[in-house]
């Protein structure tokens, strides 16, 4: 195909490592053609970091469900998808702004989480991880199919949100919706971290998850503790959903992307560190954004997954992991 002046022809790419090498080459060889200057990079890092904070918020729910309670949930991304549809539904039904919907969707998703826990997850607690994966893959497929039936395959979006707008600093444009979302995400992450470190219900959850058998023997009502945590994990996606829907749209297939993304952030962070999510979220977000403007927009998922696989290889317990 003699087409497209992007200079990709003739380069044989096979292994991931060669890919990275190729990316490096490209940056060095073609700076003029790519219109690259310092502003582009700063802009990319800022955009990416703000998105990264939201990614961290998405991963926060999974961090509670998996990191704290050790339940494998492959359907987490579809929880986010569901929360975005709930946001759309609440927003269009009551004609309120996307950012206001978490007041409605938060309890809904909490309830959803609790119901899912009792119906499906509880039976798998003492079984092999394969069972948990199988069950949650089933849940994922089910949610996706239901969303497709209820809302059809096309994308849904809410009207232009009040938090949308932009701020210009010199050559750099920052979008207010991203800034506000990032700030809310950071706040939410710290509140949840404090909850688990400083309050007794948080510590009780940690204690119960450390030793399921001991907790159930000691009379701690582990069922409700687990149900509550699972509910909390899924309710937090409502917050993420509200923020995302203020500037994005939702379609039934977006679950897998968000799911893998949050697992990637979790792997990068390591077990047990909640504020660490922010750092890895920002790393992933900026890597994504920079690769989009400097290399190729198609490469974004490539970069994310490569980070993921490399982290698993080289540092299986993550940046902040305590093993």
């Amino acid at each position: 195909m003699p087409f497209f002046p992007t200079g990709k022809e003739g380069t044989y790419i096979f292994t991931p490592l060669v890919f990275l090498f190729y990316a490096g080459n490209f940056l060095i060889l073609n700076p003029e053609e790519r219109n690259i200057n310092v502003n582009t990079i700063i802009q990319g890092i800022l955009n990416g970091s703000m998105m990264g904070c939201i990614y961290a918020l998405i991963a926060l729910g999974l961090s509670i469900i998996f990191g704290v309670m050790n339940i494998v949930n492959f359907a987490h991304g579809d929880f986010v998808m569901l929360s975005m549809y709930f946001t759309f539904w609440a927003g269009s039904l009551f004609s309120i702004d996307a950012v206001a919907t978490p007041f409605i969707t938060f309890p809904l998703l909490f309830l959803f989480g609790v119901v899912v826990y009792f119906l499906i997850i509880e039976g798998t607690l003492r079984q092999k991880y394969v069972t948990q994966i199988a069950v949650t893959v089933g849940l994922m497929t089910l949610l996706r199919a239901l969303a497709q039936i209820m809302w059809k395959a096309q994308a849904r979006a809410l009207p232009y949100s009040i938090i949308q707008g932009s701020v210009n600093i010199g050559e750099i444009t920052l979008m207010t919706s991203r800034i506000i979302s990032a700030l809310v995400s950071i706040a939410a992450i710290f509140v949840v971290a404090l909850f688990f470190d400083k309050t007794w219900p948080g510590r009780a959850i940690r204690a119960a998850s450390d030793d399921l058998d001991a907790a159930s023997l000691m009379g701690v009502n582990y069922r409700w503790i687990y149900a509550f945590s699972f509910g909390l994990g899924s309710a937090l996606t409502a917050l993420a959903g509200g923020l995302l829907m203020s500037f994005q749209q939702v379609d039934p297939t977006m679950g897998l992307r968000f799911g893998l993304l949050s697992w990637c952030i979790l792997a990068l962070t390591g077990m047990g560190s909640i504020p660490g999510l922010l750092v890895s979220g920002i790393i992933v977000g900026s890597a994504e954004s920079i690769s989009m403007s400097l290399w190729d927009p198609r490469a974004r998922s490539l970069i994310i997954y490569l980070i993921f696989v490399l982290v698993l290889w080289l540092r299986p317990r993550g940046i902040f992991g305590r093993k």
Partner: protein, 343 residues
Amino acid sequence: MNTSVNNTWKSSRILIGILVLASLLLPLLFGKNQYNMILLTTIVLYSVLSTAWNIIGGMAGQLDLAAGAYLGLGAFTSGTLVIRYNITPWIGMILGGIVAVAFALLIGYPLFRFGVREVWYALSSSALVEVLRVAFLMWEDVGGPIERFIPYHDWSLYHLRFGTYTPFYYIMLFFLFFTLYINHRIRNRKLGYYLLSLGDNEDAAEVLGVDARTCKLKALVIYAFIVGATGAVYACLYGFIHPSFFSSPISLEVAILGIVGGMGITYGPLMASVILVSAREILRASLGGQMESFYLIIYAVVLIIIALFRPKGIGHMFQTAVSRLAEKRNRAVPATGGNRNGE
């Protein structure tokens, strides 16, 4: 060896013989109708994939979600060879398998070396499918967004292109027998026992002298080769190659079939494929227009129910039923001891 064992073995041999013969003769019955033939071919194709998955997923307990990656690699290898250099897919099949194996080694060695286990293995394998899809989308020389056609021939053994599906059915059927045989052989040899023990408990297996890394890598290589070779046929069956062959849904489906069929049971995935793939097709053909994505719901519910209540899958249910039947028969005749089903 007592009589009841002999009897069971004899009757299961007869049963296998009948099934093999029936599967060979099916095209005579349905060969006139191309629709039936492609449906049969699809069922057998999925059976091959999920039976191969049984080696790494079912026996070794490594929940591999990268079937699409190896399938795509096989398809692209043989597809590119036949399109560019007019090299027959028969060679492409072998080369496709080899490329898939090379990739599996490249990925699998570090994963197993660094002890990536369980969830993380599943996730990283599913990330690989996406990585490859994007990589081939960007690699304009071989992939790229535009479909590449494999030239059409009415009947060409050399190009593996036919105007009918019957040859593909037989090729896939051969693959299926081969895969089942490999499964069966592994299952009753050292490797099989080692893999099963790894799947059950890796620590316990290792202190019994099981070399976890090598065994898992062996399983991965066998699986990748079969899936890669299948990919070559897949490309010829559909007549084009496209990065969408690196498909997460197909990878998930293969794993689902393997789990529903019963982890580690040789014929489990086969049974699951026959049931679920035909169910999907019936739902698509009959309800497709009215109830979008309905078959996905059936899939999901079956998967959840099986995983929750019968984690050992359809194959295991079948096994227990057979052994119960045999017990009944043994009770009628004075029994001399237990039988050994499932071996």
